[in-house]
């Protein structure tokens, strides 16, 4: 990530993108502040045991002197033998609260049963950037976590060696014990912890990190550390937080983005059962923080919801959105036949290539807006008192949340404390901290602890949506069946008439497949005006580019009369890393390997009954190479059944096999859900869908089985939360073509008359 510190100014959506996208200049694995720090041993007083934290020079020592040693400890070993590991990033369902501590435990040679994982405090000064986005936690923290475990292990060994009067290099460790074979001695970590704290912290270059072949924990199937609490209904989530004397709030905003409150029937509302307060909250002019609306505070959630239904608000919509999806679709069809406004990337000579092509095709692809629809609707709990505010927040971006709340309330950041809760689904929605700012403002107004709960309808109406868009393609194949040229006129949206909406266009066009691999290539762009708020939705950009590009690539394979697998492998060509040794650059060798594996496991080429077909697609994103094959049946009435999806993945060595597989299975289901019938549309600036009756997610009977296969290459490990999603939609559409001859060029599938 580029920015490890929070800017004091207000934040833009581009700041969000910087956080999850390594960027052109820093395409190497992200360096966190932690990487530049050395380890520091902190003695927290008698009986605390070994505590290892990351050195921050004087600051950490001061914290120690202040008696707050646990706050900055990543690893703490108690004399009783419990091994406490702090997980610093938000847990949003991606499994990071289990995976990161596993890395420490592996190098520590800890018995996993001794490990107790705790969510760390949110404190940028101690833990650096704390965030869940861009599938980056594993790649960014891998070395730091390994060294944390190895440092603690080395100190425990030294403590044992000193006690036994034997050389440290003769000692071994296993399952939270140090052993000395020659003298047949052993000691549990707990018994050594208080001795270990008296020793110097070994320098990093003396640490011996394990070879992969010696891993006992990494690569195994380890269950989520919160599973027991989840299946017994313990309070873990944002919505589950309670405070003494807490009240319950609802918040109503203008259904058309940008509208403000002219007047409201507040006196009437205040008389309703259970209602304690009703008032207007003025926005701070920053949609990522505080938007104008009416707050209702009541004694229960239901009382607040009921009163909210009785609100009569006159909105000033002079600056509000008038967006209309049906108009925008018409505009896009008009724009596609005009010259594009801008070239994003060009190479070779399209015009010459067009003339010599054996066959040329044109295709117009259109995809819809979608909502995040996290199952836990947006919510947050806050307590403003004595000029400071504390929040219990289900956020993906807590460190930036501190800055957001400080901005919204006009206070210093050191007056804002965020407690991270478990998050009932992120998918990018909770990179925006609007709910935190709203509840902080409400709590300040009433000077009492309060929980703000959005209704599902609020959640759907006030999302930061995955932008829809359009690709107008022209492509051709040469007489020998190669891609002769590729032209893509991308039509997306802009709020200011200059920049595309977030994730609407590739940030690095020269690296957006297949730009790297096609000789005559032209990517151009036109922008349509839009006020609807756009945001980051699981695998931003990739989740739509992959669909259009991998579908059109299949169209070219068909035009060339070639097998899709063979065609795709030829496009990849000889193994090349573009750019070389760049973790976030496409490696065509790794790509070919996952493509071949997916095809093999799915039985590519096998005989299938009429109306049933296989579809293949590949996409590289978030440093992960993924190929998927979908097996789909299409009936005469255009009813489709997705029987099975085979996923082949290379994300380097897998940290937690159960967690990574779960992410891939979930990405496939999520990707299928989003392409079948989900669609956000707007008319007169208002979102037309309001709840799951008009925005129906995929249900269990329609879910395919998902087989996941990993190629555990020797590349650095990277994240699994997002990159399995993008290839799903084109794999399914290519399978529909194989099964029925119908080429899907509009999403969702219901637009072309298909159903499940």
């Amino acid at each position: 990530m580029k920015k490890a510190t929070v800017k004091s100014a207000h934040f833009s959506l581009e700041d969000l993108l910087d956080e999850i996208d390594p960027g052109r200049e820093t395409l190497q694995p992200a360096k966190t502040n932690m990487d530049r720090r050395s380890f520091l041993k902190i003695s927290g007083g008698l009986g605390v045991g070994l505590v290892l934290a990351f050195s921050l020079g004087g600051k950490a020592r001061a914290a120690s002197a202040g008696g707050q040693t646990e706050l900055n400890a990543y690893v703490r070993i108690s004399p009783e033998g419990s091994i406490f590991i702090h997980s610093k990033n938000p847990e949003i369902g991606q499994g990071i609260k289990t995976a990161m501590p596993m890395i420490i435990a592996e190098e520590l040679d800890a018995d996993w049963n001794d490990v107790k994982v705790e969510q760390s405090p949110i404190n940028e000064k101690i833990f650096g950037w704390q965030n869940a986005g861009g599938s980056r936690s594993i790649a960014s923290n891998w070395d730091t976590m390994r060294k944390a475990g190895a440092t603690a292990r080395a100190m425990l060994i030294q403590a044992a060696a000193n006690a036994w009067g034997v050389p440290a290099n003769e000692c071994t460790t296993e399952n939270s014990y140090v052993f000395h074979g020659k003298t047949n001695q052993q000691a549990p970590y707990g018994a050594l912890a208080n001795k270990a704290i008296t020793l110097p912290v070994p320098s990093e270059n003396t640490l011996r990190l394990k070879d992969r072949k010696d891993y006992k924990l990494l690569g195994k199937r380890i269950g989520g550390v919160d599973n027991h609490a989840l299946v017994t209904g313990q309070p873990l989530f944002g919505v589950d937080q309670t405070l003494p004397g807490m009240l319950y709030a609802a918040f109503e905003k203008c259904p058309a983005i940008g509208g403000t409150v002219k007047s409201a029937n507040l006196d009437e509302i205040r008389k309703l059962p259970g209602v304690k307060h009703a008032f207007v909250v003025e926005g701070n002019g920053h949609p990522l923080e505080l938007t104008t609306g009416v707050a209702i505070v009541a004694t229960t959630t239901w009382a607040a919801f009921q009163a909210k239904k009785k609100l009569k608000i006159v909105w000033d919509e002079s600056n509000a959105s008038k967006d209309s999806w049906s108009d925008l679709v018409q505009q896009a069809h008009a724009v596609k036949s005009h010259p594009a406004k801008e070239t994003l990337f060009e190479k070779g000579n399209i015009d010459t290539a067009m003339q010599s092509a054996a066959k040329s095709i044109e295709a117009f692809y259109s995809f819809q807006f979608v909502a995040h629809a996290t199952l836990e609707p947006q919510n947050c709990t806050a307590w403003y008192r004595d000029g400071a505010v504390e929040l219990w927040a289900p956020t993906q971006s807590p460190v930036r949340g501190v800055g957001n709340v400080a901005n919204a309330l006009g206070m210093e950041k050191d007056k804002v404390t965020i407690h991270q809760t478990r998050v009932g689904g992120g998918f990018g929605r909770r990179l925006v901290n609007d709910t935190l700012c709203e509840v902080a403002a409400i709590s300040k107004h009433i000077n009492a602890p309060v929980k703000l709960q959005w209704t599902r309808e609020d959640d759907m109406a006030h999302d930061f949506y995955r932008a829809g868009g359009f690709h107008s393609f022209k492509g051709g194949v040469s007489p020998s069946g190669d891609i002769a040229f590729w032209e893509d006129h991308l039509i997306t949206f802009s709020a200011d008439g200059k920049k595309p909406v977030i994730a609407g266009a590739p940030r690095h066009p020269a690296q957006e497949f297949p730009a790297q691999l096609v000789n005559n290539f032209h990517l151009k762009q036109s922008l349509l005006p839009l006020k609807t708020r756009c945001g980051l939705w699981r695998a931003p950009g990739s989740n739509t580019f992959a669909w259009a590009v991998q579908s059109f690539l299949h169209e070219l394979a068909v035009a060339a009369g070639r097998d899709h697998l063979e065609f795709l492998l030829e496009v990849m060509g000889a193994p090349t890393w573009l750019p070389p040794k760049n973790l976030y650059g496409l490696n065509t060798g790794r790509a070919a390997d996952v493509i071949k594996l997916a095809a093999e496991k799915a039985g590519w080429g096998k005989q299938l009954p009429a109306g049933r077909g296989l579809g293949l697609a590949f996409h590289f994103s978030h440093a992960g190479h993924f190929a998927e094959v979908a097996e789909v049946s299409v009936s005469a009435t255009k009813k489709i059944t997705v029987h099975n999806v085979t996923v082949a993945a290379d994300i380097g060595p897998v940290v937690n096999l159960s967690g990574a597989e779960n992410q891939c299975q979930g990405s496939v289901i999520d990707g299928l859900s989003a392409m079948l019938e989900l669609e956000i549309t707007m008319e007169n600036g208002r979102i037309q869908q309001s709840n799951f009756d008009t925005y129906p997610l995929l249900r269990m009977p329609d879910a395919p089985t998902v087989d996941v296969h990993f190629i555990q290459s020797d590349n650095p490990p990277t994240g699994a939360g997002e990159p399995a999603l993008p290839p799903l939609a084109p794999a399914v559409c290519n399978a529909i073509y194989a099964a029925s001859g119908h080429r899907i060029r509009t999403l969702p599938l219901t637009k072309e008359g298909f159903s499940v």
């Binding site: 919160d226 996290t374 836990e376 478990r422 992410q663 289901i669």
Partner: protein, 162 residues
Amino acid sequence: MPDYHLTVNGKSHVVKGVEDSTPLLWVLRDTLGLVGTKYGCGIAECGACTVHLDGIPVRSCSFPISALHNEDIRTIEGLANKDGTLHALQQAWIDHDVPQCGYCQAGQLMSAAALLEQNPSPSDVDIDDAMEGNYCRCGTYNRIRAAIHAAASAISESEPKS
């Protein structure tokens, strides 16, 4: 506003001062502090709020407290066995590492528990029928299915053979 006498997980509660229209979900969460049952949609579409009334799964977000008739209410907090061990489904959920975000899983478990009480060895189609009212936004459906089959086997193996 009458008082309501509720039996939740075998424990009696008197609920005072709530509107007749208040859904059972909000009584459980806000009044009784049983927050394991989740709010997802408020219109009985997502299943996150599923609880049992006399063993029948209902969507508590759309079930007003005034419609209760002395039924035994069971929530996720009361799903474990009487001896304190986990219900076979809870254990299977852990063994199969089902949850991702976990928000829907209390509702999933309650729907699955009602299914197994009616049908101790459900087929895949039976599972589809019983579980289609429960969304999992993270997409853990494959594992939910496997865990239900595993729990059904575990229950049948633990029962004495006649």
